[in-house]
């Protein structure tokens, strides 16, 4: 029997997964999108609610200028065209945490369209092999957030907190240009860094400031896209990768077993690591979009279109915002690589932790050590210490000043790098001692006395007859063992280069 007969052709063709993302980013602003109530995470329930947010009759929306500027800034950073005229619409759905029964959004003409986002990811988990990919941004729209529901299953009731109701959101819609969880995760991470750099959103996923929905489908090459599912409830980047990969695998298995994919909304269960259908969102939703009658079109200006005698408080000037955009993460990375001669992958690590790049630059400024060497101390020692104790860079007990001080001792050959590591461990305790004090107290300084060092070397040579024989018969590699023994003997307080010289000299005698 031939292979083609044993397996239908379809199951032999590879599946092509297609992933698109819809990302809601809460705008970082003092007050809400259409009302003057405060935006704050974890405030007492219903304390940040105006009559408009609770949708009491007779209230009207008044647009927050800061939210418009944040969306324009984000649009420009994502290479979008900014629509000089955008429109607001009502999207209707019935839910207890949406008191008006509709959300004000931008369905027909959003504030920004047709952008792109470049992101990098490493191949086979190797930091040294990075590829850059691009995902198209379909649009960015301004819209209101909903309130929060707390479900009390035992008493069969839902508690409603409207503090979040009406907070400004930017919905970033990405085209389905990704094909796996890792790509989706890398794209979202880059977007998160961009938003945080701009300050347009704090984008902390754990606080719901950045929420991701993933649209996933699979098809055979050359065929139209398959039926897609939407995965919601993804609240970390790691879970995003897991949820997308799980959903791709589930769809492939379902189709290969002769099943069909339903166009449904699924939720990611982080405990079980799988996606499950969402009960209350079943069936096709009819959002009954209609133009928002209470808000005229939003008009933005540029240098050319700006009318002469217009109240500047009523003007959002695209060109003005463009000029003031900060360096984006990709530009910052390129600058770090160029200025300090560090590896590209190290620039990624530096930007991946909030404040780490600044910490690195501060250390470089205060030490004579070459930046290329400083980066090793930052990434291998400082960062791993921080990770071990789950601390942020800002919480580091070792300041950039202290680390620079320590590295200077190393540069001046006052201590060995082994000793420097011991000093760093002491500094970590945060007892307020300087590196020099610790070196003196723990007697970690390099043995400066040539005679003392020679005596120690001689003692090691006398004890290791076999090794000495091996070296003398030509096996130079064994010399490293002797150097190691001297280091141990001196508790890391000897200069390895010097020790090698002494040993070589003594052995050739």
């Amino acid at each position: 029997m031939k292979a083609e007969e044993a397996f239908p052709e379809q199951s032999l063709a590879p599946w092509v997964p297609v992933v698109g993302l819809e990302i809601h980013a809460q705008i970082s602003s003092n007050s809400k999108l259409f009302s003057g109530s405060q935006v704050q995470f974890a405030a007492p329930p219903n304390s940040l609610v105006s009559f408009f947010d609770a949708s009491l009759p007779g209230t009207l929306p008044v647009l927050n200028r800061r939210c418009v500027e944040a969306a324009v800034m984000t649009g420009l950073a994502l290479n979008c065209s900014i629509n000089k005229k955008s429109l607001f619409d009502r999207k209707h759905y019935f839910y207890a945490d949406l008191p008006a029964g509709y959300q004000i959004t931008q369905q027909r003409v959003p504030i920004a369209v047709n952008g792109s986002l470049s992101y990098s990811l490493c191949i086979d988990n190797k930091m040294s092999q990075m590829v850059t990919k691009t995902v198209r941004i379909k649009q960015i729209q301004l819209e209101q957030d909903s309130g929060k529901s707390l479900h009390d299953d035992t008493r069969s009731q839902t508690l409603i907190d409207l503090n979040r109701a009406g907070v400004g959101l930017m919905e970033v819609v990405m085209e389905p240009d990704m094909c796996c969880g890792e790509e989706a995760a890398a794209a979202v991470r880059e977007l998160q860094l961009i938003l945080q750099t701009l300050g347009s959103s704090q984008a902390v996923m754990a606080e719901g400031q950045l929420r991701v929905d993933a649209n996933v489908s699979v098809h055979h090459p050359g065929e139209p896209y398959g039926v897609r599912t939407e995965v919601k409830n993804i609240n970390s980047i790691r879970f995003l990768a897991k949820a997308v990969d799980y959903e791709i695998q589930r769809q492939i298995e379902e189709l290969e077993n002769g099943g069909t994919i339903l166009n449904e909304t699924r939720a990611f269960d982080s405990k079980l690591g799988c996606t499950v259908p969402m009960r209350d969102k079943e069936g096709k939703q009819d959002y009954r979009f209609m133009p928002e009658p209470n808000l005229p079109p939003l008009i933005l200006y540029d240098a050319k279109s700006l009318p002469a005698n217009m109240n500047h408080q009523q003007v959002v000037n695209i060109d003005w915002i463009h000029k003031r955009l900060p360096d984006l993460p990709s530009v910052k990375r390129a600058k770090l690589v160029e200025q300090y001669g560090i590896l590209p992958e190290h620039s990624f690590t530096l930007l991946n932790e909030d404040g780490l790049a600044e910490f690195f630059e501060n250390v470089v400024k205060q030490t004579q050590m070459k930046p290329k060497k400083v980066i090793g101390w930052i990434i291998k020692d400082l960062l791993s210490h921080l990770k071990q104790h789950s601390l942020t860079v800002k919480e580091s007990p070792v300041s950039s000043f202290l680390l620079a001080d320590l590295l200077n001792l190393l540069v001046k050959k006052d201590i060995s790098s082994t000793a420097a590591k011991q000093v760093l461990a002491e500094l970590w305790k945060g007892e307020g001692k300087t590196p020099l004090e610790i070196v003196k107290e723990k007697k970690l300084g390099l043995i400066q006395d040539q005679k003392e060092l020679e005596q120690i070397c001689q003692a090691v040579i006398d004890r290791q007859e076999n090794e000495v024989m091996a070296i003398k018969s030509g096996n130079q590699k064994v010399l490293n063992k002797l150097i190691g023994l001297v280091q141990r003997e001196t508790q890391g307080r000897s200069n390895a280069v010097l020790v090698r010289q002494i040993l070589e000299k003594k052995l050739s005698e």
Binding site: S29, S50, H151, Q157, L162, P291, P296, Q314
Partner: protein, 149 residues
Amino acid sequence: MWALRLCRGLRAVPVPPVRALRSAVPPRPAWQHGEPRPGPQQQVTAEVLGQLEHLALVDFRDAEGVERLQKAIRFADQLREVNTDGVEPMDSVLEDRCLYLREDDVTEGNCTEELLKNAREKVEEYFVAPPGNIPLPKVEDQETFLQGS
């Protein structure tokens, strides 16, 4: 006094006939509210009914409810009678106005007690709502009801 005279003055001016000629509104009503409407009637199927109930959380489950819905559709259908050929659509009478932009200052909130006065039920500082959307009977059950009515 001045305003009143102005008003009277305006009323005295005859309306130019040009506007009436161009009007898209037919001069005579095509049908009266309550009469059976000429042209195709929107049929309310059990499926449409189910979807509407789900969306609006309104119960149509009696003959009166269905009749009320059909009347509402007939009423709204009058809009189709208006000839809008060549008329540019508009979203709102405000659409050529400036959209006022507010400074990002906190000026409202902190009125939990006052807000919760409107709540029928509350727990601590929370509004209390039913658990999720009210579950409705499946479409099949409604079909038997519709056939029965």
